[in-house]
């Protein structure tokens, strides 16, 4: 609660500066940039596919043209960094994955957003920053506060959530009804349900990202790819948090190999054991597909998946899915994260980029993109009558967001390295049975410690 208040205060302060001017200036906001082009770097992702349909509307309203550079999401960072490392780069707006925010800011590659919002000539008086889901804003956009990535003193806004997500449980209502099963509320129930579903439903219990791989004799399978190598680690973190664990303690010392960490990993091992065939090799794509194609009874991952589930062109389970909260361990702690938009410092047309970013994340456009299958980032959208009618799961999502934990993953600048090289490897070794859960986690401690020390943490 306290955190949310801090964000609201920050938002009002930042925003208050722009309030007195409205009306006439609002109309002229875009005039100066009409005819110019904004270049946007986006991934091939359902939310951004939906967004692309809105762009012609933007050009019509403002006269600013938009060119889109679409890249496979596994290559997004590579492409962006290449551009941002040049004296002057292509992109005026870049989509990033939440994990990169620390690195981008520490390398001084992206603009702070406060000055833009404070600029009366650019800011939209009707923007209503408070309406943005606070947990999304904090998670995706704030850098510099406590721990470096949370709200609090020193936190500055560098990006806006767009394509953000939290974790939620999707389950096959038809299967549960048929087997007369209760939707799991706690991890104990969750755990008990796994073997039951596996035996009696004819499909896997829970689909999950495992990416451990049958060739995991070599650690090389988890190659340098923030989404690839870290699949297993992300899946483990999803469960670690509600169970009360974390990667580091308050002094940044690794504590992931304590009893709770091991317990969470053992849970993940059970998931893999009772999951659909081939789960050990699943990346996020495969995990999603398994659920869509009737191969798993439950799905515990991102809310941005909801639109795909409801799409008959891609989903075999349309109409059979219900949504519930991420089960409770010692607390409720769903993940949060996803994608956001930021303005690279070497952009040639930063102001126009900001205008586009502001427009896309405005109330009207957030609703528009949501209706097209995108992920909402505003409370108003989540509660909007039309949206809820089309996506009744939003009711669950609003509830899930209340319990969302921005600190479920320590997204410090070196997190990527730890995620992929140390923890990802260790967890996948546990999942393939190469090591026991304890050994795997204990084995990762020296490497994580050395990475942290190299990065300057005094542990």
């Amino acid at each position: 609660m306290q955190r949310r208040d801090i964000i609201k205060t920050a938002a009002i302060t930042v925003f208050g500066a722009g309030l007195p001017f409205s009306g006439a200036i609002a109309q002229n906001r875009f005039a100066k940039y009409a005819g110019s082009t904004v270049v946007m770097n986006i991934p091939a992702h359902p939310h951004y596919d939906a967004m692309q349909k809105l762009l012609p509307e933007f050009t019509k309203e403002t006269g600013i043209k938009v060119e889109v550079d679409k890249v496979a999401i596994s290559r997004l960072k590579e492409k962006q960094l290449l551009e941002m490392a040049k004296p002057s780069g292509d992109y005026d707006l870049a989509c990033y994955i939440v994990m990169w925010k620390g690195e981008y800011v520490s390398k001084n590659l992206v603009h702070q957003l406060e000055p833009f919002f404070a600029n009366a000539a650019l800011a939209d008086p009707a923007y209503d920053m408070k309406d943005i889901v606070p947990i999304y804003l904090e998670n995706l956009g704030l850098v510099g506060g406590p721990k470096g990535y949370l709200a609090g003193p020193g936190a500055k806004l560098y990006g806006l959530p767009y394509g953000a997500e939290t974790s939620v449980l999707a389950y096959r209502k038809d299967v549960f009804d048929e087997l007369k099963l209760k939707v799991p509320e706690t991890y104990t129930e969750f755990r008990a349900l796994l073997p039951v579903l596996k035996e009696r439903s004819g499909m896997g219990a829970l689909t999950s990202r495992g990416q451990a791989g049958h060739q995991a004799v070599h650690a090389w399978l988890l190659h340098l790819n923030p989404l690839g190598g870290s699949q297993a680690c992300t899946a483990w973190l999803l469960h670690l948090n509600p169970l009360g664990g974390s990667v580091f303690d308050d002094q940044w010392r690794p504590r992931f190999n304590d009893k709770i960490g091991v317990d969470a990993l053992k849970f993940l091992q059970e998931v893999v054991a009772t999951g659909p065939a081939g789960i050990a090799g699943y990346g996020q794509g495969e995990a999603n597909t398994a659920f869509l194609q009737n191969k798993a009874a439950m799905y515990l991952d991102t809310t941005s998946f909801a639109s795909v589930v409801a799409d008959p062109a891609r989903s075999q389970v349309v109409g059979k899915v219900s949504w519930a909260l991420h089960p409770k361990g010692v607390k409720r702690a769903s993940q949060s994260g996803g994608l956001g938009l930021t303005i690279p410092k070497n952009s040639k047309n930063a102001e126009a980029g900001f205008l586009l970013m502001q427009w896309l994340t405005s109330k009207q456009q957030d609703k528009a993109v949501t209706m097209l299958g995108g992920a909402p980032m505003r409370n108003s959208t989540l509660r909007d009558v039309d949206a809820v009618r089309k996506y009744p799961e939003f009711i669950t999502f609003v509830e899930a967001l209340k319990h969302s934990n921005p600190d479920w993953r320590p997204i410090i600048p070196v997190w990527d390295k730890i995620n992929v090289q140390a923890l990802g490897v260790a967890i996948s070794e546990a999942l393939t049975g190469k090591k026991s859960a304890e050994d795997a986690l204990n084995g990762a401690v020296p490497q994580v410690t050395s990475i942290m020390r190299e990065a300057g943490y005094k542990i």
Partner: protein, 276 residues
């Protein structure tokens, strides 16, 4: 004293040649065929070779995806770097072949070694240096790099051709009163025309086809065709029609050169090795 070969052998020979030719050409035909098909068809019937051709992919790619810009960039960089490389390379080959000067061995061997440097090795230093010199995102920056990278091969190639021109002709011209520069332009160059043709084809081909250095040095405005092509592979739902249209555009100039100047190309390839 040639024996008439028995007919079965001749037929067998031609059959093999045809089979090999088909193997060589089939993927290239697939590039063009796929580029002329509609996306729906590509996905539904990969092997159906009877279809209504459509230029839609080319239109889409040239109009919507800015390929006309990239095509122009590739042409500019290809032609300009080829011309400069030829001029400088020819001069250098002549200098190396005809004159003894201090450092000649060093230049010769370094040139030959530079030719084999993998371009991936150069990508990082070039990225850094070109950024420092503010040559990044500029077509001339790319031209400069391509000339420097192509010179070793071109010099080596032209060297062989220069050697084939008898020195006596130059000496005769010298006696006639021609200065060294006129000897070069009036005597040597005309005789080296086939070599220059081969060299220009190879140099253009390298500049036109080059990928990794262009990838790190260009932005949307200066991007070349190969880089643009690589961006269309997105792991999900690749639009093969468009990709093959771009691949076709990339493939067309080398194809034209090959058909027009096959003999020169082959003699260029085999010159150094076979004569030795």
């Amino acid at each position: 004293m040639s024996m008439k070969r028995p007919l079965p052998l001749v037929i067998g020979h031609y059959t093999m040649l045809i089979v090999l030719a088909v193997l060589c050409v089939l993927p290239i035909l697939i590039i063009f065929a796929t580029s002329l098909r509609q996306q729906v068809q590509i996905f539904a019937e990969p092997l159906n070779f009877i279809f209504m051709p459509t230029l839609e992919n080319y239109r889409a790619v040239l109009e919507e995806d800015n390929l006309n810009r990239y095509l122009w960039n590739s042409l500019f960089v290809g032609i300009v770097s080829t011309v400069i490389t030829l001029v400088l390379g020819c001069m250098a080959a002549y200098g190396l072949a005809r004159f003894r000067f201090p450092g000649r061995q060093a230049v010769a061997y370094t040139t030959l070694l530079l030719r084999t440097v993998p371009l991936a090795v150069m990508a990082i230093p070039v990225f850094m240096i070109w950024n420092q010199w503010q040559l990044v995102n500029s077509l001339w920056g790319l031209v400069l790099l391509y000339v420097a990278v192509n010179l070793p091969f071109t010099i080596w190639l032209l060297y062989g051709f220069v050697l084939q021109v008898p020195v006596e002709l130059e000496e005769a011209a010298a006696i006639d009163g021609c200065g060294p520069i006129r000897i070069f332009t009036k005597v040597l160059l005309p005789l080296m025309a086939p070599g220059l043709a081969a060299a220009s084809i190879f140099t253009f081909r390298i500049a036109w086809n080059e990928f990794i250095l262009a990838l790190v040095l260009t932005d949307r405005q200066t991007r070349t065709l190969p880089v643009a092509a690589s961006l269309f592979i997105t792991d999900l739902g690749v639009d093969w029609g468009k990709v093959m249209a771009i691949a076709s555009l990339i493939a067309i100039p080398p194809l034209i050169f090959t058909f027009v100047a096959a003999r020169q190309i082959i003699s260029g390839l085999t010159a150094g090795a076979v004569k030795g």
